[in-house]
Symmetry: C2
Subunit: 313 residues, 2 copies
């Protein structure tokens, strides 16, 4: 039995998890999910990363975007556009039901982790999916044009602003959600998913105690590079790395994780960086294809990552 | 020029107003609308009476129900049902856009009257529609089974509970919305629409000062009976009147309005009650058909009511 805890952002993490639950029993997997991208939109509480993970694992996700639901429609959003309402955040009619459900039960005083567990169960999933914290934690993006919440920066303003720095509002007082600490301590492997290190993993680790907890478990931690050949596979990782003065490369990412992970899973495209990464960061590099083009590729990446972390690679 | 202010609830008032704006210029009409039935549902602020009035006047209302939108769908609500979410309140996909719009702008700090004006303008309407108050005012129904908000009692519990009394939560400190006092003072006629006297008109008049203001303008006030031959045309008026020990009759309603209105518009079916009403309440009774079956009937009722109120009947 291999128990695995995964630090997860959105699309990349969701795809990794989709492979993982096919190579170990789903009940042995805990996904600890970023909430820094959460947004209150027209009164509704939206948790994009939690939804992306849940929709992907439930095989309900829109395969073209990697987020949102398959067979989605936009009756409400089109009407909201006609009214001149806030239509910049793409919310489909089916997706909206998730947000109404979540907002309703949060409004009744339930913590986000409880509501998430309920949604996950109703989706028929056996893995444990939890927000990293039940407390309010919001990624704020400081740019040339001012400070914005992540969705404001990324969706409304289409990520055009030059980014100076990120700030995780609420982090100082946020507490890990129930079972997060246990899952990290008791799992056999901790995976840092191929997510954006700044926008997905950093906010997770900004919850007091978690960075130290992962670092103290470094010998069982594997990080999967979200960068392949100098490009982020999905999302704004590359732009933001560059904007903030980091190398847009697997090496740049590896440097960020050197105190946290013993194993770094590097795409074969970037194999030439392996020895530099090993000598600079002290991580063991595991080279393999990391592009998750289909179910087989996802499974192979998950299996390879576990194998490397368990030292039997 | 005849300026008219109408104290309005939902369906009955909306139909009356729909006739009224065809017999006087819409810009001379102010609808002062009940908000006691408003509800926060899954984070959204829903104003059923404001929407019913707006949808009806914009010719967007579902003609079969008298509320909601024509051509409505329920993608979101059906999905919410599947999730086991709170699906007892019928919210269509198009209707949802109104609630998102309203909730968004309220969340930005705008008062309900401002947001309403914006929605009314976008619907292309020229009459002035305003909530009676921008403050929180909620009709609470005390029943055999406990106290419920109006929508809880009426929709979720299907109005099966025996009603003891009503209470208007927030009424003590509610202030009239902008222009409400002016509209009542400056209009040539005030109409109490054929709405539920307890559930639509009483909450309106529970805003401090408004009952006295209407009473002090009694000579220009006409009330239209919502009861025809002992039956409420629409909604729970009859049940509630009975439940609370009142006559389910035009006479019962007339007694409630005797200090407020000089004219009482009585359906011809109830003509036999006219002399009793006149002698008991001191109101002048105007007998005419009050059932608003089509546009002509709505126009005739509006015209007849104005004529009676203006003493040229």
């Amino acid at each position: 039995m291999t128990r695995v805890a995964v630090l997860a952002g959105g699309v990349g993490a969701a795809r990794f998890l989709d492979g993982l639950v096919r190579v170990v029993p789903p009940a042995d997997v805990t996904a600890i999910v970023n909430v820094g991208d959460d947004i209150e939109w027209a009164g509704l509480h939206i948790s994009p990363d939690l939804d992306t993970v849940m929709y992907t694992l439930a095989d309900m996700v829109n395969p073209e975007t990697g987020w949102g639901l398959r067979g989605e429609s936009r009756r409400t959003l089109d009407r909201l556009s006609e009214l001149g309402g806030p239509d910049w955040f793409m919310i489909g009619d089916l997706d909206l039901a998730t947000h109404l459900f979540r907002t309703h039960w949060l409004g009744q005083g339930n913590p986000l982790s409880t509501v998430t567990r309920d949604l996950v169960k109703r989706a028929g999933l056996e893995l444990f999916i939890t927000p990293v914290t039940d407390d309010r934690l919001r990624t704020m993006v400081d740019t040339d044009a001012g400070e914005f919440s992540f969705q404001d920066y990324f969706v409304r303003r289409r990520a055009v602003d030059r980014v100076h720095s990120l700030r995780f509002d609420g982090a100082e007082t946020a507490r890990p959600a129930p079972y997060v600490v246990e899952a990290l301590n008791e799992s056999d492997v901790i995976v840092i998913a191929p997510s954006n290190p700044f926008l997905s993993i950093d906010p997770l680790l900004s919850v007091p105690g978690l960075r130290e907890l992962v670092a103290s478990n470094r010998s069982k931690v594997a990080a999967v590079s979200p960068i392949i050949g100098g490009e982020a596979v999905k999302g704004p990782a590359a732009d933001i790395l560059q904007s903030m003065g980091h190398d847009v490369s697997a090496l740049g990412v590896a440097r960020l994780y050197e105190d946290l992970a013993e194993v770094f899973v590097l795409d074969e495209t970037d194999a030439a960086l392996a020895s530099t990464i090993e000598s600079e960061t002290g991580m063991r590099v595991h080279i393999m294809p990391t592009l998750m083009t289909d179910v087989e590729a996802k499974m192979a990446l998950a299996a390879g990552t576990l194998k490397a972390a368990l030292h039997d690679g």
